[in-house]
Symmetry: C2
Subunit: 231 residues, 2 copies
Amino acid sequence: MTLTSDCKQCLACNNRSPMFSVLTEQELLVLGEVRYKVHFKPGEVIFKQGASCHNILSIRSGFVKIYLEDESGRYFTVKISSVDELIGKTSIFLDKRHHYSVAALTDVDVCFIDAEAFKKVLFTNKKFGELYANSWGESNIILWNRILSLAHKQMNGKIADILLYLSESVFQNLILENFVTSKLISEMSGVAKDNVVRTLSKFHKEKIIRFLKDEIVILNKERLEEISKKG
Amino acid sequence: MTLTSDCKQCLACNNRSPMFSVLTEQELLVLGEVRYKVHFKPGEVIFKQGASCHNILSIRSGFVKIYLEDESGRYFTVKISSVDELIGKTSIFLDKRHHYSVAALTDVDVCFIDAEAFKKVLFTNKKFGELYANSWGESNIILWNRILSLAHKQMNGKIADILLYLSESVFQNLILENFVTSKLISEMSGVAKDNVVRTLSKFHKEKIIRFLKDEIVILNKERLEEISKKG
DNA sequence: ATCATTAGATGATATTTATCAGTTTTTAAA
DNA sequence: TTTAAAAACTGATAAATATCATCTAATGAT
C-alpha cells in the first residue's frame, strides 16, 4: 500500500464516480480536502471486517473483492467492485465498524473520503442523496440475488450465476478478466474449489465456456442462463 | 384485506416507528394525508415481487414475512418484520417495482405511505434521513448474516442460525411465537422441510429446544450458539 | 360432525457434494 | 535456472442432504 498525492482534486478528477457530477464546486472542494488516495497491489487487504470505519471509499482504478469472514475463519466473497463505485455505503451508517473486508484483486487506486464530511454533503445536496440511495439500492439487489442463488440452487446453477454476474454486472463483457480463478469462483459461489474446477471443465467440454489457462470466456450465454434457471 | 379508517393521524399515532418522533408536526401532518391503513389476515399477501411500488409500509401491529421467489417458483424467506419497522426502504429507490414479496404471518395492520411524499420528508429532515439510513444499514447486516449462514454451514448450523435470529432479532424472547412452523424455518434456512422436522426433533431430544405442538422454546442457547459457530 | 388440508414424524433410498489423495501444470520467487 | 508455492485436474470415497412414501395428529371449513 502506497500513499500518493499525485492526483487532481475531486473537482477535476475524471476517475470519480459519476454521482459526484451533481455536486457543486463548493461541495467538491470540501470533499477534496478530506480525502486521500492510496494505491494497493493485488492481494493487499484494504480494510478488515471488525476494524473501525471512518471513511467511505471511492475506487478510481482496478478491482476489489468484498468478502465476509465467519466465526470459523471461512471466507465468502459477496461482490466485486470497481471504478465508479463507492464502498462503505452501509457501513458509514452503522456502528463505526466495518462489517466486511475488502481486498485488492488487481492494482487499485482508492480515495478514502472522511465519512462525516461525506455525510454532511449527502444530507445537504438532495440530488446527491437520491443518487446515493439509488446506488445503495442497486447493491442490495445483488445481495438478494446472491441469497436466492445460495438458498436453493445446486453447484451448476450457483456457478452459472457467478459467471453471469461477473459477465453482466462486473465486466460488461463475455471475457472475464484473468484474476477470475476457480478459487475466486469457489469463494463467491460457496462451492468447494475441486467441484468448481470440475464444473468449469465440464462447461468447457460442453462448449458453454472456454476455460484455458486462467482465461474464462462465455461462449453460450443462453445455455448458462438455462442452467442458472434450472438451478 | 380490509381498508380501515379508524386510526388517528400520524401525529397522534402511538404504533408508529420511533423514527417518526424526530419529524415536525407539519411533516407528520403531510404524511398523515398520504397514508392509509390496511388490515391483513394471516396468510394474506401484502404485495408481490414484480408488482409496481408506490408506497413505503409501516407495520403497526403483527408480523410479516419478506420473501423472494426464484424463476422456478421456489420461495425463500429473508426476514420477518414487525411493529416499528419500515418495509420498502430499498424499493422506493429502485425502479418502482417490488423486488420481494411480503405476506402476513398474523393479523396485521399496515400503513401505506406514499413514497414520493415520504421521500420529500426524508430529504428535508436531516435527522430523519440519518435514522432512516441507520435502519437501512441494520437491515443489510441481516442480509450479510443470512448469506454467511447459507454459504458454508450445514443443516444443523443453518437451523440454529434461524432459531437464534428469531429469538434475538424478531421476538426478543426464548419463546418463539406459534406461527413459527417447521415449514417457515425450512423457507428461512433453505433446508428441506423433512430435514427441519428431523433436526428440530433431534434438538428436542437433546434438550436444546422444546418442540411440542407448534410451540418452540429455546432451552439451551449456548449450545445453539456452538452449533451455529461450528456450522 | 365430518372431511379436507396441513404439519409433524420417520425410515429408506438416491443424489449431491465435500473431502481426500495424488498428479500435473503454471506462476512466482530466490 | 532451480525451487517453491499455487492452481488445475481427476478419481475414489464418505458424508450430507433431498426426495419419496407413508403414517398420525392437528386444524379449519362447511
